[in-house]
């Protein structure tokens, strides 16, 4: 355990953010963010799976034959996802129903496979674990931002509690129901990427 490499956690939060810069794991991030609660649960599940699969694969990295590594990785990841799924079903059944197939889809979440291939296969276990946590948190930041914006403007509430007071509605305020529809998630991610790159000029594409 040679030193606690803080960079591994800090970098994925902004400069190497898995969603906006590495373009990984978009599949699930859009579908679960119509409300804040499922977004948070999903973010925690993904962080757990990425961190522990990174750790396990990193321990095994010298014994896995390169030709069949994808299958080995898939088996380990799906094992962890089954555990997460069973825990969610046991403790937060409502949310697990809302997430439906997207818990299972953590297996093919590109963040997990991408980090396994790019980091865990060539680094020490503890570093890989930190890298997993960092990338999970980077994913969580985007998910929670999207969840807050979409739930606040789409349903006028946060975490199920009403935020926008009734007097607003009486004055003619309307919830923007496009916010909870799928297309708006895509457009919002586009805007987040725009803002993020405008502030970090070196990330712009030519």
């Amino acid at each position: 355990m040679a030193g606690f490499n803080f960079k591994l956690i800090k970098n994925p939060l902004s400069k190497e953010n898995p969603i906006t810069v590495q373009v990984l794991g978009i599949c699930s991030s859009l579908a679960v963010t119509a409300k804040l609660q499922p977004a948070v649960v999903m973010a925690i599940s993904v962080t757990v799976v990425v961190a522990f699969s990174n750790l396990i694969i990193s321990y095994l990295r010298n014994t896995i034959p390169p030709r069949i590594r994808i299958i080995v990785q898939l088996v380990i990841v799906s094992l962890l996802v089954i555990l997460v799924d069973q825990v969610l079903k046991a403790f937060v059944y409502d949310v697990s129903k809302q997430l439906s197939v997207f818990v299972g889809l953590i297996i093919t979440n590109c963040i997990v496979m991408g980090r396994l291939e790019a980091f865990a296969m060539s680094n020490k276990p503890f570093d890989s674990f930190l890298d997993g946590i960092g990338n999970g948190l980077g994913y969580a930041v985007i998910l929670i931002t999207l969840g807050v914006i979409r739930e606040l403007f789409g349903s006028g509430s946060l975490w199920g509690y009403q935020i926008i007071p009734d007097s607003f509605y009486e004055m003619g305020y309307q919830n923007n129901s496009l916010m909870i529809m799928p297309p708006m998630a895509l457009i919002l991610v586009g805007i987040i990427i725009w803002v993020h790159r405008a502030r970090n000029k070196d990330l712009c594409e030519k």
Partner: protein, 205 residues
């Protein structure tokens, strides 16, 4: 028959893999730079979906579901193996992709040259696993319906990726603010396409 056509049309336009569920976004964004390659990947996805989803349906119905093992012996009727479905589905997909790759390599070198590089990518494409999981959740009645669903989802995905690739080819010549170039504008255009696809909502045959 009508039910099958209904499922087919519905899974292309209304429950479109990309525009309604965002499945397979990673390869959708990475491979949609030119129409030709995106066509190759799209066809490979249709192909693999058509094989894996009905196969997973059969496995789910005769091995995993609660009571599915009753055909072996009535004693097994209470066994519920559905918690194993993730691992079994992904194993079937990974194995089938490998098999398809070897089969195509042996039988049709031309097709292999076009699809070859995409096939390994497909094992980790969320659209494939997603289709199997949706199949499990939506409880279709027979293999025919499941096949229609698989074919429809595949074609829907193909339509989406070829559409965005065609738009991105044109976009290269337009003036876009630098931070929005590439990824950002692709997201926003996909969003606009998704709004267009929403107009199919409510179509029923």
């Amino acid at each position: 028959m009508q039910e099958i056509i209904n499922i087919f049309v519905k899974s292309i336009f209304i429950d479109n893999m990309i525009f309604a569920f965002f499945l397979g976004m990673c390869s959708y964004l990475a491979v949609s730079k030119t129409v030709k390659t995106s066509m190759g990947l799209g066809i490979a996805v249709v192909f693999v979906l058509l094989i894996t989803v009905p196969l997973n349906y059969i496995i789910d119905n005769y091995l995993l579901k609660e009571g599915a093992l009753a055909w072996i012996s009535p004693k097994f009727a209470t066994i519920d193996l559905s918690y194993l479905s993730f691992i079994i589905f992904i194993a079937v997909i990974a194995a089938m992709v490998q098999l398809v790759e070897m089969f195509v390599e042996k039988t049709s070198p031309v097709l292999y040259a076009q699809l070859g590089i995409f096939l390994p990518l497909i094992a980790v494409n969320c659209a494939i696993l997603g289709a199997s999981l949706f199949m499990q959740e939506r409880q279709y009645n027979n293999v025919g319906e499941v096949t229609a669903f698989a074919l429809g989802s595949g074609i829907g995905w193909l339509l989406a990726i070829v559409g965005i690739a065609a738009i991105r080819e044109k976009l290269r010549y337009s003036q876009i603010p630098t931070p929005l170039k590439g990824l950002g504008i692709t997201f926003i255009i996909t969003g606009l396409m998704a709004i267009a696809f929403m107009s199919f909502l409510g179509i029923k045959l």
